[in-house]
Symmetry: C2
Subunit: 390 residues, 2 copies
């Protein structure tokens, strides 16, 4: 695709106006929205209101004027991106902390099952947290196996299968309904990490009959650096799962100030401490900024952007490690190259921001809200120059 062709395609793109909703610096092609989404313009005004009116003027009174309910309210807004009910999602803490809560809860759900099964090479924090969680449940162990050995590793000792839906390096996507079914056939629960999926590809936890999930607010949802994460528990499990990090905000009556812990109803019990409102507000503004957009439309454009970038990679002789079938991947494209670290450094210097993932991966986020075809073609030209001088 030539630059002129790409520009023509951008001009005809019904999504092209969405770019105006985001602050994007001059001279930068931002292919890292899968790591940190850019600043939505609406967030600037929302944060001013949050800081100057809600905090500055209303002070403590704001807790009764929208702050206290924010974890469930924002969770409710997020639910549509993951195919969940509004009362099945809560926003709190970090993805890692939420994962810890869920894995401990899942291990306690059926004490006769003691093994957490996950994928070797999964996003490291998932494995690190699983290590920490099994250490909190007597007899529990973590078994991380390569993807091809996963099906066999799920057996009658498996308490919970922990899978990241879209792989952070390769963009490979698990078939959520099929793997959920596989876990259930073995009598195990499944916990999905949706960090690289939410806002990137269609996700339907309800249709897949998933048990629990976590995910991240700062990537495709544009919730700001270190935005609060989310936590999903299917309605049918809510009464039987307990939050091991049992803080006052998850108590049935936080301001009753009773000594014994009593878990709150529904998703409320997954709260722990006081919500970090400045971070919560930015996530809410990010979600509000894209509330009118359909994931199917985004995914279709992402697939088209991928094809353009994959074609450029082929022409440059790069090894693409992401699946060519759009249904089997997320919304980023990765190439393997022995000099990946140095190449990415030079790309960033030239204004093409992607990221390097140790040891040899060049990773580029394809975020249709603000990336067009001409961006991909120009990024490809810079990549070609960098490779020529490598």
């Amino acid at each position: 695709m030539t630059l002129d062709e790409a520009r023509a395609r951008d001009a005809a793109d019904p999504l092209r106006g969405l770019r105006e909703r985001f602050v994007l610096p001059e001279g930068v092609i931002y292919l890292d929205g899968n790591s940190l989404g850019p600043l939505p313009r609406a967030t600037v005004a929302a944060q001013t209101d949050l800081i100057e009116r809600q905090w500055g003027a209303r002070l403590i009174r704001s807790w009764g004027e929208g702050w206290m309910d924010s974890p469930s309210r924002i969770g409710g807004k997020l639910a549509r991106w993951i195919g969940a009910g509004a009362d099945e999602v809560i926003v709190a803490d970090s993805t890692s902390t939420n994962l810890f809560k869920l894995i401990v809860a899942a291990l306690r759900h059926d004490p006769t099952r003691t093994v957490v099964v996950s994928e070797a090479g999964n996003f490291p924090s998932d494995l690190h947290i699983a290590e920490g969680a099994v250490a909190c449940v007597p007899g529990a162990t973590l078994r991380a196996v390569p993807r091809e050995a996963l099906a066999e590793a799920i057996d009658d000792r498996t308490a919970v299968v922990l899978l990241t839906h879209v792989h952070y390096k390769t963009s490979q996507r698990f078939d959520m309904p099929a793997w959920t079914k596989r876990a259930h056939e073995a009598g195990a629960l499944i916990c999905w990490d949706l960090s690289h999926s939410t806002g990137a590809v269609p996700v339907d936890l309800t249709q897949a009959n998933a048990d629990c999930a976590v995910g991240c607010g700062y990537k495709f949802l544009n919730g700001g650096p270190g935005a609060p994460a989310f936590l999903y528990v299917a309605k049918r499990h809510q009464a039987g799962f307990d939050n091991p990090i049992s803080g006052w905000m998850g108590h049935a009556d936080p301001f009753g100030f009773a000594d014994p812990y009593e878990a709150g109803p529904g998703m409320e019990r997954w709260r722990t401490g006081t919500p970090a409102m400045l971070a919560m507000g930015a996530l809410e503004a990010g979600l509000d900024s894209i509330a009118d957009i359909s994931i199917e439309v985004l995914a279709a454009k992402s697939a088209a952007l991928f094809d353009v970038f994959a074609g450029i990679g082929d022409a440059l002789g790069l090894e693409c490690v992401s699946p060519r079938d759009a249904g089997q991947r997320g919304s980023h494209i990765s190439f393997r190259h022995a000099d990946a670290r140095a190449i990415m450094g030079r790309l960033i210097d030239a204004g093409v921001i992607g990221d390097f993932r140790d040891p040899d991966i060049l990773r580029f986020g394809l975020t249709p809200l603000y990336i067009g075809y001409a961006d991909i073609v120009r990024a490809g030209e810079v990549l070609a120059q960098v490779l020529r001088h490598d």
Copy 2:
């Protein structure tokens, strides 16, 4: 003290200029800075820079330009308020989550000791979290006893004594060196919750020889609603204590992406997930806003404000539940009244913001950074009017 006398005292107060550093709404006397500190003026500009330049323009590059180091950098700035070394404090997560980490770590420190001793009527989240933590360590139990039974409850089965330095209701303050010594004499560790102490009264963890501590950023440090909390581990314990919520940010090499967890050095291991930068930035701005102020000067003015308010309470026949000896309390004053809930509602309606604590406590924060003698006298006048009509 008459209003004129109070105004004269304010005019002579060397701290009076500090009020200009904070945004305080017209018509409000804010006696709730012990619950949510007000907005520092400097925070408005700092957040604009954080949102528009660091996030909006620098995007992902900001992780290498101050974001990644923020937990230890902000911890280092906080250290002076608690008598800690800059390399003994980290800012992360919520107070509740940090407490969970420390109690599990303390219980694992010496498996022959299995009991967490705390005070009945401690801030509920401390007890709730301790319940959750003991459930993660085989054989561990929580023993919460009244203050007068604490000394006896600490024995050779005690793993860790968990005390809140300044009581959230009564303002009673534990003698930190004495109780630390008492725990150590029994061979136990001590963990201090400094939520109502930090920025309120002099704290010296080093001099007290304390083992570990947590505390809150959104009260006297003015870090914003739900600001990140802090966590302290004495240097001598740092190599031997491990974070049970072992997320990637606490890994020795977070971007090495290795499957096995390896704890980071020093305080780094207490990190779990990605720091919520919009909340971190506000806490840093809050700390920067008071970096030139000494806690001794603040505590002296707080004691004088207390005496004025206690005198008003005496004149109104109110039962003060806070100690009269400044050395035995924090920086708030509380009265017991059967109609406390209704009275506080009317005070707030009249612009005097304190808070009600179930079932019968009227609590008023005395925050010398922005509260003067005339504020207390005027608040007393409103309180007298409200009581007359009760």
